[in-house]
Symmetry: C2
Subunit: 340 residues, 2 copies
Amino acid sequence: MENWFSKEGPEQDVVISSRIRLARNFKDFSFPSLADKNAQQKVVDLAVKGALESGIENMTYVSMKDLPDIEKEYLVETHVISQDLKKSKLNSGIIVGDSSVSVMVNEEDHLRIQSVLPGLQLDKAYEECLKYERASVLQQNYAFTYEFGYLTACPTNTGTGLRASAMVHVPALVISGKINSVLDSCGKLGIAVRGMYGENSGSGAHMLQISNQVTLGQSEQEIIASMEDIIKQICVLERRARTALLESKGIYFTDRIYRALGTLKSARIMDSKEGLSLLSEVKMGLDLGILKGASTEELVTVLTNVQPACLQKMEGRVLSPEERDQERAKVLRESVKNIE
Amino acid sequence: MENWFSKEGPEQDVVISSRIRLARNFKDFSFPSLADKNAQQKVVDLAVKGALESGIENMTYVSMKDLPDIEKEYLVETHVISQDLKKSKLNSGIIVGDSSVSVMVNEEDHLRIQSVLPGLQLDKAYEECLKYERASVLQQNYAFTYEFGYLTACPTNTGTGLRASAMVHVPALVISGKINSVLDSCGKLGIAVRGMYGENSGSGAHMLQISNQVTLGQSEQEIIASMEDIIKQICVLERRARTALLESKGIYFTDRIYRALGTLKSARIMDSKEGLSLLSEVKMGLDLGILKGASTEELVTVLTNVQPACLQKMEGRVLSPEERDQERAKVLRESVKNIE
């Protein structure tokens, strides 16, 4: 599967990634949590047939029960699967291939088709999802009514079944306190804002996930266009806040960025939260041209690589928390050594 | 005048410098604060005669009123003159030459003869002071009684007029909290302990000035020998504490030292207190062999150079506090760039 985070994308100084998720269910089977073993297997079979028909190269189904824990954790960290799928006791799995598209099977819905792309590319990510979603073997079987649209296990997804979201990096809005009015506006527009890893996580890395709440009463194109508009506005506000910080705080702002870099270059032990937070400052320094020596996509790759399961996958073994923190410090030192 | 801080000395991993000060007054004149202009001038004349007779090369008298403020501040920072002499309204000055000896004239006493040497060398510093103190033109005129010894403006200096002190760098005793029992013991032994710049200063740089309180009832040799003993014990305790920290905290301790170095290598603005505190950690790292690339005396030179007046003297002009903090960060980056 392609790593979205190692590629260049539009508006990447602010928008880390764009993600489209389509929820789909088949009309002949109960939703996964209520489906029996037989029905669950039939859903898997249908999903695999869809993959073959999609035309996406090398699409393969992997059952959750065949995946080692570290691999599952890695897929969570890289946003390919959800925490729920990781813990699922059902006959569930993922389909991945040579594209940005992945499909969770028997998660909350029968199918959760998603595509993640770097930068702001919601429309492109939607098109990618459709390559799989449009397979006729699937289309014939979707639970769909003209009144409600696509039916889903949770009514909040009913209608388009579409969730369009973007991960935005807004350190200057956070530092300057201007983020609050952005959050207010998002709330009024029916836009959900969360920290980096879903509902219960903080935003120490100054990353926010922005997504639509309403899936009903608007077309897919309308939802995506409106999300792109809002995200572009956030980009403008964040860039303005960065320039304002640089102008008003001058040397203190520059100092803060260089100190973050200095700590990354020298620490011997570092937890995940601190690492992300320092990388966030360094990314801003690179975006503003204060620092040189790495591209935004290289920084985002580092952001991903220093997560616990990614570190363990690179090392090829389970690490104790202290070993992880040491390994993280080592990876970070290596990753930022050419930045100045 | 020689810079004590740029030379190597014994026990320099813990003892930054040794200082001997002898208070002397002339019997025919009132103490400086009560002496009239005429008497003050005669004291200066006698002090200068003593300099000529001392045999120390190039001894020169410089009147305080002829010194620019930055120079005065520089002499305070390098411990050549006291705050009191800097502010003095009397006809006062200093005598310096090609040795470690300097003489404050018309400070609290007519003469304050001092020698500062790197590392633990109280006996050597005392010998240096005697080169000036033994000049016969001075000896003939000292206020001395067989009952009290040398008479001084403040009775706490009466007797030997000797203050033997050492600046010790004890980061591990401070970090481990063991410093408190050392301070207790010093108190019981009649040893005064102060922060880096006298009574009212903190010890952010983990530097303590240790000096004798009693000047009466013991010979100079006894005072010096007892101070050297105590300081050597502190060296042993500090080294033991460093090793213990390294063994018990391991990577966390190493991490702390590397982070201090990383901040020094990258900050763009830094106040004096933080600079000293970070240099203190880096010095400990060098002393313990964790870091390489600079000698202790090089580090102590940096410690001295980043003080406000030293910075201004190097720049050749008065700097605003913000300019100083930027200049300090620049000097520090340059100074530690080869340490790894």
